[in-house]
């Protein structure tokens, strides 16, 4: 009842014409920021932050928050159409999104990703509305031991990514781990493999690598196979009349996935530092191991696109929990939002929602509206975006190279990263040619440093004892969930498969 009246109060604030305008501006900017490869929400937010100097904080936060979750809608479009993730959290969306587009199902894939984003975002806001205080407990129970276990859980995803040619997959993952060692060693402060470069102090950021491996690698491969000589697109086909709306089968087969991944994504998002990228990768591998069509994942399975898309949107809602309830930013983007709070003279912390109810509830209410607006914008914009594929490949190709380079450069204004992106593009081409797994490399690059740092922090804290992992209740929970996911569920699935056909209906 209390929540309901708070929410109504929030809605009345959010719905004023000027605030709606800010919200729409934010949503559109977010979409655009998401579409440009490399140029993610945190960069977009940081650029627009100075504009909000002197704005009404409520309107300003609605706009900034809409940029933040809107980027998750836009980021997938290039993942599907060009195999180039627009944003780090949409790397996993390339795995099945691009194969779907190759099968001529770009239209349904784009519609389904918009719907999945909407479901994930909305379920996320509903969970914020009713369970924020409860989830605040989750965010504050995570220390280094839990992060290490979480990273390990993520690494199980690697086994899924490595695929059939396991030797090549393992080599790919090892390259990723090796790249992850570059940068300042967090514990001792010594520089590793930076060769004196100030730009490598912070390590190798995975976005230039992902853009290079996926986007440019695919592009070079397309030229290698002579696509530029054929008249039109060729990689992906699209037929407006027949192929726009998803089929009934698409809806039915993904409805459980959407709900499951909304909750999963939200919970991962609540954990500071884990964020939308890890949420989307975990959702992908979880769905793959749960699905009856697990073998089809990576070849254009709709659930394989819906899972990461739902999860990354739910995670971006989840990341608002530590921000609003503890004043702790869970990601680079929410860190910029925190800076904005401070700039406007607000003091984030556990008392924040109590002290600033209009602000907090106005923001939460605006997220419901924002997600609806984004769904509508996405669906209307799809016919526009698919025009991209009608551009002849010999024209589109060079444009993609330029956009990838600009997008990468825009993140840290770093030439080193831009060259890394091109380097990764060449490597990506050969990986594609010889069957290595680019996905395993990127995942290892993300998780390797995370696991290393968390393990060494844990060992310092426990003074070298591994008992810490079973002494802390949150750690025990993660271990239990991991075992359930890895051992029990596949067993149950297999059992269900062989004994009856009923399970097929529910599980698909």
């Amino acid at each position: 009842m209390d929540i309901f009246s708070d929410l109504v109060m929030g809605l009345t604030i959010a719905i004023s014409p000027i605030n709606i305008l800010y919200l729409l501006i934010g949503a559109v900017v977010g979409m655009i920021v998401g579409v440009i490869p490399g140029f993610g929400p945190s960069a977009g937010l940081a650029i627009l932050l100075p504009v909000t100097f002197g704005m009404d904080p409520i309107g300003a936060i609605m706009m900034l928050a809409a940029i933040y979750y809107g980027a998750m809608y836009g980021g997938t479009i290039t993942s599907i159409l060009l195999n180039t993730p627009g944003e780090s959290a949409t790397v996993a969306s390339t795995f099945d999104g691009f194969p779907l587009a190759k099968q001529g199902r770009a239209g349904p894939a784009l519609v389904m990703q918009a719907v999945a984003s909407f479901v994930g975002g909305t379920v996320g806001v509903i969970l914020i509305t009713i369970l924020a205080p409860m989830f605040a407990q989750v965010s504050r129970s995570f220390g280094p031991p839990e992060y290490f276990l979480l990273a390990l859980m993520g690494m199980l995803t690697l086994i899924v990514m490595i695929g059939a040619q396991w030797k090549l997959g393992v080599i790919s993952a090892l390259i990723g781990f090796a790249l992850g060692t570059v940068g300042v060693d967090l514990e001792t402060g010594q520089s590793r493999y930076t060769f004196g470069s100030a730009e490598l102090i912070g390590g190798i950021y995975f976005i230039p690598i992902a853009i290079g491996l996926f986007g440019l690698g695919e592009l070079f491969y397309a030229f290698y196979s002579g696509l530029h000589k054929t008249g039109s697109g060729g990689i992906v086909e699209y037929d407006k009349e027949e192929r726009f709306w998803p089929t009934a089968q698409d809806w039915l087969s993904t409805r459980i996935t959407m709900l499951r991944c909304s909750v999963l994504g939200f919970v991962v998002g609540v954990i500071p530092g884990a964020g939308a990228t890890i949420a989307s990768l975990m959702a992908y591998s979880t769905e793959r191991s749960l699905s009856k069509n697990g073998d089809n994942f990576g070849k254009g399975e709709m659930a394989g696109l819906v899972a990461p898309e739902t999860a990354n949107n739910a995670a971006s809602s989840g990341a608002m929990i530590p921000l609003l309830t503890l004043g702790i930013p869970g990601s680079a983007s929410t860190a910029v939002l925190l800076a904005a709070f401070l700039l406007w003279g607000l003091r984030p912390g556990p008392l924040f929602m109590e002290q600033n109810p209009e602000f907090a509830w106005g923001l939460i209410a605006s997220m419901y509206l924002g997600n609806m607006a984004l769904l509508a914008i996405s669906i209307f914009a799809i016919p526009l975006f698919v025009q991209i594929i009608k551009v002849p490949y010999r024209v589109l190709g060079p444009c993609v190279v330029v956009v990838c380079a600009l997008g990468t450069f825009s993140v840290h204004a770093s030439f080193v990263e831009t060259f890394l992106m091109f380097g990764a593009g060449i490597v990506g081409f050969f990986m594609r040619l010889y069957g290595f797994s680019a996905a395993a490399l990127v995942l290892a690059l993300v998780l390797g440093p995370l696991a290393e740092e968390a393990l060494r922090q844990t060992m310092t804290i426990s003074r070298g004892s591994f008992a810490i992992f079973v002494e802390r209740p949150p750690s025990l929970w993660i271990i239990a969930i991991t075992i359930a996911l890895v051992v029990l569920l596949p067993l149950l699935n297999r059992f269900g498969n062989s004994s009856s056909g009923k399970a097929e209906k529910a599980g698909q």
Partner: protein, 331 residues
């Protein structure tokens, strides 16, 4: 990424008037035949060595707002974020403008630490120092549920039991402050290094850490709600919001290390430019807007000018270098 914000579009019109205002100040410096510094026709190129929204950015923009509001600078001021390599890119850009009186930048902790870590072509002493305006200091906190109520109990406990203290990064004041403090107070601890303030704060809230150091501005909300308990502050004066918390100096363990937030010109900038900026900054720090900036960012106002600031920078650098070399963090 490079971003240009022209903060005073209406300035050209007011230029003539402002020159008249600024002229007496400039004349105080040894008169130079050719031109009076600063000329209203020259655009001031303000380098912000970090992205928008960070501490350095907020400081630069706050100073620029004050300069504009009180008509202290006659020409246009163009602020550009030249982020990258922990400040190496931005300050490297300023370093390249040797002798130019119209390039300027604000410093922060990385101004001292980045050259210690990487082969930057510049050192902090290379630049023309204008003024140190404030310092970033740290507060040592424990979990609000902890049995430790004050710093005396903390030190006593630390002498008896092995403890750990968390902080952000290793080549950083977060590591150096507790290390020097522990040395003086006579206890030992394990330092746990984190990538960000948020990770270390949740680690403390989850009871994985015994204590941590952090910038008070980012955790005031948690201190206010009682989730974190402040024990001691590393600066000279305790900020308003932490009233009642002793400083390390109060305990007799003054460590004399803090992160400099100051203003610098390119190497070998003309003397009249340096003294013009010193005089101007003396006015800036007297404004209510500056007091508000210091308050809302929980900084410690510590103002020293010119060559004294230069000496401060090289002392800080040498102090950092010594501690970091002794633990093997840098060569």
């Amino acid at each position: 990424m490079d971003m240009t914000f022209n903060l005073n579009s209406g300035w050209l019109r007011a230029g003539a008037l402002a020159t008249a205002f600024a002229a007496p100040l400039a004349l105080a410096a040894p008169a130079v035949a050719q031109e009076v510094y600063p000329s209203g026709d020259e655009t001031l190129d303000w380098t912000i060595a970090f992205g928008p929204g960070g501490g350095n950015d907020i400081m630069a923009r706050s100073i620029i707002e004050i300069l504009n509001k009180y008509d202290l600078y006659p020409g246009d001021i163009q602020a550009e974020n030249r982020a990258g390599g922990s400040g190496a890119v931005g300050w490297g850009y300023l370093y390249g403008q040797s002798g130019n009186p119209y390039g300027i930048s604000t410093t922060s902790g990385s101004f001292v630490t980045t050259p210690l870590q990487a082969d930057t072509p510049w050192e902090p002493e290379d630049f023309t120092p204008v003024a140190l305006l404030a310092t970033d200091d740290l507060v040592l906190v424990v979990n609000g549920d902890s049995e430790i109520q004050n710093i005396e109990q903390f030190i006593e406990n630390a002498k008896a039991n092995p403890i750990n203290i968390g902080g952000t990064g290793t080549v950083n004041v977060d590591f150096i402050v507790p290390t020097l403090f522990a040395e003086k107070a006579g206890f030992e601890f394990d330092y746990v290094s984190f990538n960000s303030m948020s990770e270390q704060t949740t680690a403390l809230l989850s009871n994985a850490l015994d204590a941590m150091v952090g910038n008070p501005g980012e955790i005031l909300g948690l201190i206010e709600s009682g989730d974190l308990r402040p024990l001691v502050f590393s600066g000279q004066n305790v900020p308003e919001a932490l009233e009642g918390v002793p400083t390390m100096g109060d305990l007799g363990y003054d460590i004399g290390v803090s992160m400099p937030r100051g203003l610098i010109l390119p190497p070998d900038a003309p003397e009249e430019a340096q003294s013009w900026w010193i005089e101007t900054m003396k006015q800036v720090v007297e404004t209510p807007e500056w007091a508000e900036y210091i308050r809302s960012n929980t900084l410690t106002p510590t103002v020293i000018y010119g060559d004294e600031f230069g000496t401060f920078l090289s002392n800080t650098k040498n102090g950092f270098g010594q501690v970091l070399r002794s633990v093997g963090a840098i060569q």
